[in-house]
């Protein structure tokens, strides 16, 4: 019964008018940035972080989380209409969503996607509620070696599992760890990599860095790339969007399977909604009696990945909130935001701040319901968002970035830091280096170093301490697997191309 009591406590927090309003603002903004290709949830979350300083911590987190899962709902719109995913997690939706649109069934596709997303989100939340307390209890037994191993696993898995080169992902993660070192060393008081700037003694500002890497760099990358095609002009009425009985029936099982797959994958370190969506799509194709229809506009091919990515974003909160270890860059940012608000995520969060934890969980329910109401009747409006001229949108985003970064410390130095990271992030995209592992490394860096030093201090310099418990042994074994796996695959691929050529 305690879960019922906990949830009742959560709904007391989440159903206040301020919380509902903030949640609505979050999911609305999330859907907006999700619909727009090129502008991701991270840019919007970092833009809003300074605003949360003026709110209660729980309200701030409700806002930031709302943007994150709201973006997943919106991201499928441009996948279906333009064949360009609004966020990477909606890439799998392009495969069958766009063929459906070309057959004149865009409305039906968006209807199926929205309901699958809602279902997936709900399953993810149920999993979060069910596993939070037992996992937190288990994590209470963790010491420094276990935390170090777990964080290392999160870092390595997230860097190597992302699409593109695993080596480049790892290099960026290490660079992120270096950025995390900048500032005053907590143990010795030594200034590290401050370059003589007094402003850097507290470390690089999280907002300035993420706005540079994910805001300025994304705007620059979009401006630098060849322009995308405009969306097709068509009006969408709810009545015309209802899927046929056969389409609805064919979507139910894929949505259930997708939700279950997404929930498990989302909770693992280093994965995330994009991988969950592709695994769900591949599974659906494998279990289907008619796999040949996939890619030609099959409703199964959109219901499964959309349910999976929405389940994954909710489940991704499990390791972040219960163990204090984020699985991907967005969750790492959420962790950073919590630390700024003086909240220590981890096994003690649920027992020490139950209002915050359960309030946030309850807000996910509210947010998903709001998204359902916001998306279905207003699809026509969201399609029009796609038509906002880029030459107006980008200067507006840049203005918001300037004000947002400056407002954190009322300091123009942070704006220059954002410019530097914007330039660096843009150059990285030119060379196809992933940017997200930098943020993950930056946020986890100080925690990894602290646990590394603490382990060796306690064990009097004995490295065997890192493999003293089953949890750390399993994590470190998985780290080795994550490092060696891509290498073996790359060698195999090269051998295949040599043989075929």
């Amino acid at each position: 019964m305690s879960v019922v009591n906990d949830l009742a406590l959560g709904f007391q927090v989440a159903l206040t008018w301020q919380a509902i309003l903030i949640c609505f603002g979050g999911v609305l903004l999330g859907t907006f940035v999700g619909v727009l290709p090129g502008i991701g949830a991270l840019a919007a979350i970092s833009l809003c972080l300074p605003l949360t300083y003026y709110m209660l911590p729980v309200h701030g987190l409700i806002l930031l989380a709302g943007i994150f899962y709201g973006a997943q709902y919106g991201s499928s719109t441009s996948s279906i209409l333009l064949n360009i995913p609004g966020t990477p997690s909606a890439a799998a939706t392009c495969l069958d969503g766009n063929p459906m649109a070309r057959q004149g069934r865009a409305g039906q596709a968006m209807f199926i996607v929205t309901l699958s997303s809602y279902f997936g989100g709900m399953v993810g939340i149920i999993l979060l509620v069910a596993f939070a307390v037992p996992l937190a209890r288990f994590a209470l037994t963790f010491g420094a070696p276990e935390y170090f191993a777990f964080m290392l696993l999160g870092l390595v898995a997230a860097s190597t599992a992302a699409p593109g080169s695993a080596v480049k992902g790892l290099a960026m993660m290490v660079l992120g760890l270096v950025f995390g070192v900048v500032g005053t060393d907590v143990t010795s008081g030594t200034y590290r990599f401050t370059l003589g700037f007094i402003e850097l003694t507290d470390g690089i500002n999280l907002v300035a860095m993420s706005m540079g890497l994910f805001g300025i760099a994304e705007v620059l990358s979009n401006l630098a790339a060849p322009p995308a095609a405009p969306p097709p002009k068509k009006s969408y009425r709810l009545r015309d969007m209802l899927p046929s009985r056969s389409e609805a029936r064919r979507s139910v099982r894929p949505a259930i399977r997708g939700s279950l797959i997404g929930s498990w994958i989302g909770a693992l370190p280093g994965t995330g909604p994009a991988i969950a969506a592709f695994v769900a799509y591949a599974t659906e194709k494998r279990v289907s009696k008619t796999p040949e229809i996939f890619g030609t506009g099959a409703p199964e091919g959109i219901a499964a990945p959309e349910a999976a990515n929405n389940a994954a974003v909710q489940a991704a909160f499990i390791p972040t909130l219960c163990i204090g270890i984020p699985g991907d860059a967005v969750m790492a940012f959420m962790l950073g935001a919590m630390i700024i608000h003086g909240i220590v995520p981890g096994p003690n969060l649920i027992s020490q701040q139950p209002e915050l934890f359960w309030g946030l969980v309850a807000s996910f329910w509210v947010g998903n319901l709001l998204l359902l109401l916001l998306t279905l009747p207003m699809i026509g409006l969201w399609v029009r968002v796609l038509a906002i001229p880029r030459h107006i949108l980008y200067p507006v985003i840049i203005f918001l970035i300037c004000v947002g970064v400056f407002s954190v410390n009322s300091n123009v130095f942070d704006v220059y830091v954002a410019v530097a990271f914007g330039l660096f992030g843009f150059i990285l995209t030119l060379f196809r280096f992933p940017v997200a592992p930098i943020l993950l490394g930056y946020i986890l860096g100080p925690l990894v170093e602290e646990n590394f030093r603490r382990t060796l201090f306690i064990s009097d310099g004995d490295f065997m301490a890192f493999v003293s418990s089953p949890v750390s042994i399993i994590c470190l074994a998985l780290v080795v697997l994550a490092l060696v796996g891509p290498l073996v695959l790359a060698i195999k691929r090269r051998r295949l191309t040599t043989v075929s050529s």
Binding site: A171, L223, L423, R432
Partner: protein, 151 residues
């Protein structure tokens, strides 16, 4: 201003790889300077030293991958306009205030293509400054003013 597309070839990838290598080297040297400490008392330099070495190794592996992927073609002109525009905003915000800083930002940004004329940019700048004043200065009480120290 419509810029040309630049193709990022293997040579550029190698140069960038060297840049990452140099970052790793600097990191390792400074790590050594900060003092790596001893195994039972890790110093402030151990972690940067290890990271620097790892970055150098990974940059070499990245360079080995150079030229494997299809080269990207991108315009570099937005870079030369948007970044200076933000720097101008930062230089003006405290002395000249939100209004002038925002006008300058949007007008400079409009140089990136012909779709946003200077006139339209001024209108957009005025609207943003007005919204910014109401939301950020009056609403959130952020510590900057509309007209700076001039008035």
């Amino acid at each position: 201003m419509d810029g040309k597309y630049v193709t990022i070839g293997k040579k550029a990838e190698l140069v960038f790889g060297l840049f990452i290598f140099a970052l790793g080297l600097i990191c390792a040297i400074y790590g050594w300077k900060y003092g790596p400490g001893q195994l039972n008392d890790i110093g402030p330099g151990a972690f940067p030293l290890g990271l620097g070495v790892a970055l150098m190794i990974l940059s070499v592996l990245c360079m080995a991958e150079a030229g494997h992927e299809w080269p990207l073609s991108r315009k570099l002109s937005p870079l030369a306009i948007y970044l200076p525009a933000i720097v101008i905003w930062a230089l003006l915000i405290e002395s000249a205030g939100l209004l002038l800083a925002t006008l300058a930002l949007i007008v400079v940004c409009s140089f990136v293509d012909d779709k946003l004329s200077v006139f339209k940019a001024i209108i957009l700048g005025l609207v943003l400054a007005a919204v910014g004043y109401v939301v950020f200065i009056l609403g959130f009480g952020l510590p900057f003013t509309l007209t700076g120290r001039m008035l």
